[in-house]
Symmetry: D2
Subunit: 434 residues, 4 copies
């Protein structure tokens, strides 16, 4: 039997707290899970710094990737299997793309990518197409198979149905992470009736559509997503930790570029600093490596680096106030000047952070990122865009919500041993209770 068709003698199951069990029958999937590139995802947290706000959020991207795979497996094996518009040959492609869609994520990728101008989707492609164990497994299926999987993940594939399973406004990725992140944080918001949604998904033309009877379950899913964004993903304490993390990386990069002599050479970062990054360098990084450096850097002579690392590791975070950058830019300039005067570097200790989300959107051709809307298959056979049928979705559709906060170290500003008066001025401007 050809490798792509090989089944394990005995089905393997992973006990999963969200989906109860993750079932693996295909030798290809089993082999992919065993690769070192996939195992590396165990060392990268799904929610980055969120564990400093919600202590349960310590789960890894490995966890989530298995979950996405399992959802897709249920869709293709239990729901799409015999549907006329479903091409059974897309089964393995869908499973592999689902399993591997986050493969290129690095540690705390949000901050990391910003500082080093990287893109995890690019690395996902590199890992799939490069000289890796993952590529070796996929190539055994067919020499073209790595490319096909990469195109699905990169959304350049002609196979729109499979793309929409993995990347759309209602895809296996979102359905897994909402439930999984809700489970591990312990919040109730991420719950929705996934089993119902799976049962009403239909491959139709270029997209997975939803039978009209499942509309309310989809509404509930969209509300879950909205709540998770504002209650969990954009939580201001999490963003505080991320602000510090970003500033650590900025500082160390700046120091390196200025020729600062580190007590211990930041060997794992050199390629990043010097723009000579190879895939091998990238794959060596994970959160344990970062935490190792954050701990050794606590003993560095540079006070800013040392202080920021101590803060991050010991969770001594920045405080925040609401801040409107459009209106309060003058105040920001004033604060910045006062920080300088007080001997507190505002580049590192006075930070505006903005979070923004669009809960659902219909199609807006030509916009920055064209979002595929969710379509309903009506009983009549007609196809209707979701927000035209659902009053609730219509009410929030296309409405971007943004939140701005200004972060700063409250403890330093309250320490009146030095620069007492300037600090008082700062506190007044920041509306801190003295």
């Amino acid at each position: 039997m050809h490798y792509s068709e090989q089944k394990l003698t005995e089905e393997k199951v992973f006990k999963d707290p969200v989906h109860r069990y993750v079932h693996v029958r295909d030798q290809v999937i089993w082999d992919l899970i065993g690769t070192k590139e996939f195992q590396r995802l165990r060392r990268i947290k799904q929610l980055g710094t969120t564990f400093l706000t919600f202590h349960g959020a310590e789960h890894s991207r490995f966890n989530h990737s298995l979950g996405v795979y399992e959802i897709i497996r249920r869709i293709v094996d239990d729901v799409f299997h015999d549907r006329p518009k479903w091409n059974k040959e897309d089964r393995l492609l869908s499973l592999c793309a689902g399993l591997l869609h986050d493969l290129g994520h690095g540690p705390f990728s949000h901050s990391f990518e910003k500082v080093f101008d990287l893109d995890h989707e690019h690395f996902t492609q590199e890992i799939i197409l490069g000289n890796t164990e993952v590529n070796a497994v996929l190539t055994k299926v067919h020499p073209d198979f790595p490319k096909r999987v990469a195109e699905v993940i990169g959304k350049t594939s002609a196979n729109k149905i499979v793309i929409s399973l993995i990347s759309s406004q209602i895809d296996a990725d979102r359905m897994d992470y909402l439930q999984r992140d809700a489970y591990f944080t312990g919040v109730s918001y991420g719950q929705f009736d996934m089993e119902r949604i799976l049962r009403v998904m239909r491959p139709h033309e270029d997209q997975v559509m939803i039978k009209q009877t499942g509309m309310h379950a989809v509404e509930d899913y969209i509300m879950s997503r909205y709540q998770m964004y504002w209650q969990v993903y954009f939580h201001p304490v999490t963003r505080s930790a991320e602000v510090i993390l970003t500033k650590i990386l900025h500082r160390v990069k700046e120091l390196y570029q200025k020729g600062y002599r580190f007590k211990q050479e930041p060997a794992h970062f050199t390629a990043f600093f010097e723009n000579t990054l190879t895939l091998e360098d990238y794959l060596k990084l994970d959160e344990s490596i970062l935490f190792y450096y954050f701990q050794v850097w606590q003993d560095e002579a540079d006070e800013i680096l040392s202080d920021l690392c101590l803060r991050f590791v010991n969770r001594n975070l920045f405080k925040y106030v609401e801040f409107d950058p459009a209106k309060e830019y003058k105040k920001l300039a004033e604060l910045s000047a006062l920080f300088e005067k007080a001997g507190i570097n505002p580049d590192y200790y006075l930070v505006v952070d903005s979070s923004s989300d669009l809960p659902y959107d219909f199609y807006r051709p030509g916009e920055e990122e064209e979002r595929l809307p969710i379509h309903l298959l009506m009983k009549s056979g007609e196809i209707r865009e979701l927000s035209r049928e659902s009053e609730i979705v219509d009410a929030i559709s296309g409405k971007r919500r943004t939140d701005h906060k200004l972060y700063f170290p409250e403890d330093i500003l309250k320490d009146d041993k030095t620069k007492k008066n300037i600090k008082k001025q700062i506190r007044t401007l920041l509306d801190m209770r003295s």
Copy 2:
């Protein structure tokens, strides 16, 4: 108001997936949670290598410690509060001891302690009594308070009631970890009706006792514990990872002692190797540090060290067979000799591992570890040891169960490129399908 009585202006809550919320009202508790020694527990997994078997088990000891605190808080604030035999002054002592009981745990402490002959309980005492942030907070309560907390955790305190809240056959520690580990692994076995048990706990004489009406909930708890031990804690795959981890530490210690030249100096381990360990050295270690070294050691010249590190990091574990060391010691000697012949060092690649548990025990004076049995408060006022009332508990009481397995690297033994015939002999002895 004295520090020990200070309440937060606004109660703080942690969202907890197991207990829904962890409530903190005491300034002392809030300050303890903020210390760097307590925050360090975020970087140590509750279940060590179990995440390689149950992917959900990525939760930290920080998580669990908050949970134990919360259970004790509910007992002392909601159940014991007004009971005549409860001394309200023991409240803060109980809360602190519960919160801090695992403070001295190091990374993968089971393996680590075995190799370096350490004891985490010893370090818990050291952290509480030494020059630490935790000690500073406790001393603010009262100069004697650190010692009192340490004595409760060390079970040398005269305050038996508080000891039994934290260390007995039905204590807050066990009640939290059974539920928490069940939650994160996703297995159903760890569930029992804790709310019911809490409601029937009574401070009585030298021990927390259980009202007769709660006996069935306690039976269920003991069965949960039994199942969790054999289904989760002693899972043979987890033990395989632990075997490898132990062998890595053995190897690196051996190499160091032999004067091997490491490409990168194992600075964090020197004090362990040279027996010059200070508390500061100990506290620097966490799982990220270990994982950092496991990754750099993959590139070491020593083949055994490099191979074992690759195995651990990429989850390429040893396989196992059932093994009875009492009967099969000759076979083990034979295997060992064959491994030598095949050029596979049996000290590192042929390992017997044994797990053993006593699900419940009544009092056996003079035994190695005297276990405090669970006592029931009968309606009649009489006190009865649990196994005399419960047929189910009686049936398993005092029955130690032990499991032995023999671990080895299947992949090497199946690789017939070298030493084909010897490996075949080994495989036959191990009853491996060739």
Copy 3:
């Protein structure tokens, strides 16, 4: 000790699947639960005919009433207890009003009240104030106490805080039924984080308000309510059963008034038919009485009564189509005429049913029913109406949604043994597949 202060020697608990345990410490509450008027609620389903759509929905109003009591108990004992604006003397009043708020409900009250022009709130008052066991218990607290409880339930009390605990857009009644009905039906929509909402409730001026930090939990609660209305409470199959039930009651009343001779005298209904209803008559009715009659009426000579009873008891319900009464009144007239021709009485077999809900509303003075909006207590101390802060709530606020359906017996219309052509015309008009 005065009766109103008496505590049970040992707290009583009811195992409750929604709130885990319902705790009773007050002798007054215990005595109220034991009255025959309160026990009668066991024989009245919380969701009337819904069990014919969601088979799990067999739970009684007894169930729900205990749940409402428990929520109020948690609010007053755990949250409001020491708040400056909370009057501790309102505790027992709140508990009693919560426990008894649904006391006057009869069997399938929605249909029953429509046909006999009754109002369950009126009967709740009657039971509390009349010659009943409940009244005797309340009077022991204080001769005025029954009146005070009745005024809270009737919303005429001057005690607005207590009223808003029980009857407002976010009250203990709604919080219990949403969760309970979700639990028993098995749908996931009714879940929200009640524990969070309870923690942020504050007695403030004339109303219970919500701390700003709890806004998202309240949004989630409002969405839950919206979904429960459209997914469960207004389910078209449930309404079909209710249509039939209503028609049974209409028919039996009509027959009685026409002097029809029943095989078995409908003794329990006589007072309803003749408008001589006493409280005693009312209290004798429950669902078992109704089901008894529905079964004996199956053998009545009147074909309509017999047929409708057979349908209800054996769940042979009417089918439905979407129907717009404003636009399709001519079609309805036409159908009605055709039904007459076909020998099918349209008064009983062609029924328009409308359901309508307002998910949330701000204050509209002078409207039919003035709804107290939900107010947020901002950090700044300001008070803000919910829809001004929440975009999601604003989006659905004040938007009434109505659904109309036309019900008819598909089986009769498909039976072509008689009036074949007329029935075909009807089927065409109703757009039934022949």
Copy 4:
């Protein structure tokens, strides 16, 4: 297509709180659910009088029957489907037998059957084989099919595999009711990992067996069953209600046989009293009919009947003490004499009730009821009886546990207005606090 093969155009689903969804694809199953005999199960509670102890336990046998069907559907469609030892032609037989296995249950059957010497299994057979809607549906499958279904339920079928799916020590019936009763009562004991058990069930020789790897899930299931029996099914308060119910039926039968003139003729019972029972008479009975009579009998002249009915309907139950009939028969005689003296009929007011259960048993040939033990399929291919492999099961295997209680009306015995001294003597003997 033949009727037995017909599928519904669109799969029907029932929302089920225990199994999430119950899926129906077969026309035969859909038709069976629609019969009036099956719908009748909606009017019979699954747990009889248990709702008077656990208020959530108001669910019907209809509920449970759908659940058993769904479990069998999952086994035969998802697990057994392609197994060599499974005969696909047994699929429909298994589904029908599972769905209908409780069809003959009457209202409060435990008490009812005792008083009238009936057996619900007999009526299940009668309904399947007699002139009923159920029989008509089954006959459409094949004229022999009703008989085949009846034989499976009656355990006389030659098809042992199908019998063991429905009636064995680990069958779909038990797996559903443990989980369902736990869900509705709210106790945690009934939970076990059914999904795991289903996955390891194998049709093997004459019995469904369990793969060795599932042993611990089975242990957990057996413990769940043990706990549910003693915590829920044999709860002394439930038994008190049942004692009263039984005595009501005894009294009314005795009165009828003595020629007592009822105010309202107990028409539904005549056939039971006179031993002229037809299937039609039997099917007319349900709990609403019983409750109707219990309410009208409250107004009967016979004081015992009236009192017992008032007690049952208003939940004014008997109290109880532990009682050992083997040792305390003299005391019972003495009490009985004193009751006579006090004018309290001991036949109705002094009742010994015994409950007894065997948690698990291995095979004991020739015993009253031969129980099929649970067999494990070992990896080696060997078959082992469960208690030989599981220490826990071995510990409780074959150990019958029995509980005896003596029930009496505490309120009458405490009422000292009459027979003061005799009542005092009774209270002393019963060890009641005066």
